[in-house]
Amino acid sequence: MMLAQFRPIAEGNYYPPDVAGNPVLALEYKSNANNTLCTYFNNKTDDSVPGGSTYKSYWESVYYLLAIFVFFRVMVIVSLVLQDTKFGEAAGDTRNQNIGQPGAQ
């Protein structure tokens, strides 16, 4: 299969100007196995990019996604705990009020 990937045009300089001095697309499309898509995104954390880049490195992205995953899972539990005391009143559910009482079926 033909290898297809993005790679930076030049190391540390992702927006080289063209002959007219205008910035060109930061991607060079090559069939070159030495540089990978992931390498491209890893290199995009370089602050030397004019205007700055907001791409994160691969493992930084992994950590952010893990943090979001754990945060919202914990927030689900917190949300349910905070609502827990209101459940009976909000639902108007009195069917279980006799649980544990003498004569309950």
């Binding site: 299969m1 033909m2 290898l3 297809a4 990937q5 993005f6 697309l25 991607l27 060079e28 499309y29 069939s31 196995a33 990978t36 898509l37 992931c38 205007g51 700055g52 880049s53 907001t54 791409y55 994160k56 691969y58 992205s61 992994v62 996604l65 893990l66 979001i68 995953f69 945060f71 919202f72 899972r73 927030m75 689900v76 539990i77 949300s79 349910l80 705990v81 609502q83 827990d84 459940f87 009976g88 909000a90 639902a91 559910d93 069917r95 279980n96 649980i99």
Partner: protein
């Protein structure tokens, strides 16, 4: 089905410079597809289970963290398999690098996106008591996240 649709759309095994846009679109499509496929269904899950949950909590059958954790564990196999299937169907069709390590790096990102999206969906589902409210609110959360994710806008030009 969405994988087949994506494969038909991007399945050109991109080999020339004019298709850089398609490559970037393929990355965006794959990740956002995974996010929406797992976010939207979970937004309306808890409202349906709530009456049962309330009764079981009133009966003291289990604690809340046990309910949330077992629900996560029960869904884990399908959430591991679905992104793998989508990645296996789309990765080589689109024409990313055919190295197994890169394939699994991409799969890890998709997997974590699925987990993060479903967690956000469950959170919204637990916060809102009605499905319509949760569904109406979800784009208000989703679209700004898409916009400010760093793909469409360079955030250093915004903040």
């Amino acid at each position: 089905m969405m994988s087949v649709f994506g494969g038909l759309g991007f399945g050109t095994n991109l080999t020339n410079p004019s298709e850089v846009q398609s490559m970037a679109g393929g990355i965006y499509f794959t990740t956002v597809l995974q996010m929406f496929l797992n976010f939207l269904p979970t937004v309306i899950v808890f409202q349906g289970e709530k009456p049962i949950f309330v009764r079981e909590r009133d009966s003291g059958l289990y604690q809340i963290w046990i309910y949330a954790t077992t629900k996560l564990l029960a869904e884990m196999p399908i959430m591991l398999f679905v992104p793998f299937l989508l990645n296996a169907m789309l990765y080589f069709v689109i024409g990313y690098e055919d190295r197994l390590s890169v394939f699994f790096e991409f799969y890890l990102i998709l997997l974590l996106m699925v987990q993060a999206a479903s967690s956000l969906g469950y959170f919204l589902s637990s916060v809102f008591n009605h499905e319509t409210t949760a569904v109406a609110f979800s784009p208000i959360i989703n679209l700004p996240l898409n916009l400010l994710g760093g793909y469409m806008i360079n955030l250093k030009n915004v903040f």
